[in-house]
């Protein structure tokens, strides 16, 4: 009886995620398609940046998501550490690669936006610099996860790291902004954008929602695999695989 209770939560999430995934995937696709149409075609060119500002519709949502994913990861990790919820451990672990890929995309698109704006691919812009440090934090988290074999210890160790990281992120963020304003040459920055018009805001919001639903979809898919693997000795998994009927 106790055993059943112990396995109940991950199993129920496995089923719930299974039913949710197709719906989330459809919403993601719809948001991406309409966001791309609005961002690339419907929105008029900016009078200062021309068409180059359209990179914003992929850069900014990824930058937002990279931060949100880190906070979500630390939240899941803390829940798993404090209350010993194994589902939270799993969600934290599978969030890390997604967050890292958002961070990488934000970095690359930011530097591709920088080239037409600054004339060079890399400027120590405050946002790009803090994204780079965030990427290092994600890489460290994943490296720690990967180097510990015991899943419980890996989850707890990386949870402590994620919590320390999330306490540090605001400090890092503001240090970098302060450092940047001190050394800022009199030139353009990404933050020095022209006023945001409603025609820019609509595609931006839709693309951001698209990336958020993309995150949720892939979170479900990845968490399902992880649950199945961790519970591989449980009865319900053996039944699912077709060993016990």
């Amino acid at each position: 009886m106790k055993l059943i209770h112990k396995y109940a939560a991950p199993k129920r999430f496995y089923e719930l995620a299974g039913t949710l995934t197709p719906g989330l995937a459809i919403i993601t696709v719809v948001l991406f398609v309409s966001g791309l149409y609005l961002g690339l075609y419907w929105a008029p060119p900016d009078y200062q940046q021309g068409n180059a500002y359209r990179i914003m519709f992929v850069h900014v949502p990824n930058a937002w998501m990279s931060m949100m994913a880190y906070v979500a990861m630390a939240g899941f990790a803390a829940a798993g550490y404090i209350w010993n919820v194994r589902l939270a451990d799993i969600l934290a672990k599978v969030t890390a690669p997604l967050g890292a890929s958002f961070t990488l995309t934000a970095l690359v698109t930011g530097s591709l936006w920088g080239k037409p704006m600054w004339g060079t691919y890399w400027v120590w812009d405050a946002r790009l610099t803090s994204e780079l440090i965030l990427l290092f934090l994600y890489v460290g988290y994943m490296a720690l996860q990967a180097s510990i074999d015991d899943p419980r210890r890996a989850a707890h160790a990386s949870a402590i790291l994620a919590i320390v990281g999330v306490v540090n992120i605001p400090i890092i963020h503001y240090s970098v902004y302060w450092w940047h304003t001190l050394h800022q040459p009199a030139s353009l920055t990404l933050t020095n954008q022209p006023k945001i018009y409603i025609t820019m805001l609509i595609p931006l919001i839709i693309m951001s929602l698209g990336f958020m639903f993309f995150y949720l979809t892939m979170l479900c898919v990845r968490a399902r695999s992880e649950i199945l693997w961790r519970e591989r000795h449980a009865d319900w998994v053996r039944k699912l695989v077709g060993l016990e009927t």
């Binding site: 060119p45 180059a52 995309t105 698109t109 399902r224 060993l243």
Partner: protein
């Protein structure tokens, strides 16, 4: 607007399509990698615990997709 003009994006085609293309690749990899991982894992689960084939096979495939 004609298609070539659209693709040209003013004079920023390289950067814009580069940024969107990179994003698309990352999104694509993020979709494909878990699916490959899932398929491999299902195979391992089935092989590791393999006692009787056949009966449960169809149920398994339904769940895997």
């Amino acid at each position: 607007m004609t298609l070539p003009a659209f693709l040209q994006m003013g004079r920023f085609s390289v950067f814009i399509w580069g940024a969107y293309g990179f994003t698309a690749i990352i999104v694509f990899l993020n979709v494909v990698q878990p699916l490959i991982q899932k398929r491999k894992m299902w195979e391992r689960l089935r092989r590791n615990l393999d006692d009787d084939d056949g009966g449960g096979e169809e149920v398994v495939d339904e769940e895997a997709e």
